[in-house]
């Protein structure tokens, strides 16, 4: 079963086969993990989301209609779980926003996410990546998803559009707006730093 296609594995998962779930996990774990990292930029959070995604896959296997590939369907679950997770974290931090924005020592605005811990970022790029993720965090959800799927996850236009259930033209428009807004956010950060 190790080399079986995701569609066949999903058929087995529908019957409650945990071995098939494990095989699907081995095939798609890195995709799910990297998509989640694009949203959270934190290893622990992304690991938590990855586990949530495969538990959901096991419970919702019957709801897969086959109108997209299994990878796309799992990717969509990963996006929704990541966004849910971020909303949950945002709610928890709502009352602490002001205190977390300003450092206690200097009162300067902090742009690094306090829990930034992306395993794909090298030490020399850590500072720059911190600014990038701080700006990504400010993007509207659909623009953020377009940027993550195309720029960070490296999906093709067709795959990303299918995952987001929009056409390629709409995806391209979202991606361009995401880049424009990122530039605006980064310009603000640059002005604060200088």
């Amino acid at each position: 079963m190790s080399g079986a296609a995701p569609e066949i594995l999903l058929e087995e998962i529908r019957r409650g086969n945990e071995k098939a779930l494990q095989q699907l996990f081995l095939q798609l774990k890195d995709t799910v993990f990297n998509v989640s990292l694009g949203y959270t930029a934190n290893r622990e959070d992304a690991e938590e989301i990855t586990q949530d995604v495969f538990v959901e896959v096991f419970h919702s296997a019957n709801s897969f209609k086959g109108d997209s590939s299994v990878k796309t369907w799992v990717c969509r679950i990963a996006i929704n779980k990541s966004l849910d997770y971020l909303r949950f974290k945002k709610r928890k931090k709502r009352f602490a926003i002001l205190t977390s924005l300003f450092s206690k020592e200097t009162g300067e605005v902090k742009y690094h996410q306090p829990d930034f811990n992306h395993p794909g970022v090298t030490l020399e790029d850590k500072e720059k990546a911190g600014y990038l993720f701080a700006a990504i965090e400010k993007l509207p959800e659909n623009q953020r998803t377009a940027f993550i799927l195309l720029k960070m996850e490296g999906l093709s236009q067709r795959e990303a559009a299918e995952t987001m259930q929009i056409n390629e033209k709409a995806l391209e428009s979202l991606f361009q707006r995401a880049k424009q807004n990122l530039r605006k956010e980064l310009a603000g950060i640059y002005n604060e730093l200088k």
């Binding site: 890195d30 720059k128 640059y190």
Partner: protein, 92 residues
């Protein structure tokens, strides 16, 4: 110009972010979450569920009977003074 270069440099960082590998150990956590749910379901046998449902139905039925009887009694008590008055009037 310096600012524009800095912004492009930061956006370009996205191309340098390597693909991270998720640990295979994560599956152990997935299994325990799945088993956790199954155990929870097994802890409540069907017999207990039916017993609870029957108890609830009995409770609702008893309440219904008590409420109906109380309402009838109240109606009878409320109607009584008028009949007494009527009969008293008949005496004169």
């Amino acid at each position: 110009m310096k600012k524009e270069n800095w912004i492009e440099d930061i956006i370009g960082t996205a191309d340098n972010i390597g693909r991270a590998e998720a640990s295979t150990d994560l599956f152990t956590g997935i299994q325990s979450r799945l088993r956790g749910k199954v155990v929870q379901l097994k802890q409540v046998p069907a017999r207990t569920v039916w017993l609870a449902a029957a108890s609830l139905a009995l409770l609702v039925a008893l309440n219904f009977i008590v409420i109906t009887q109380t309402t009838r009694q109240t109606e009878t008590t409320a109607a009584a003074p008028y009949s007494l008055t009527d009969s008293n009037l008949n005496l004169y």
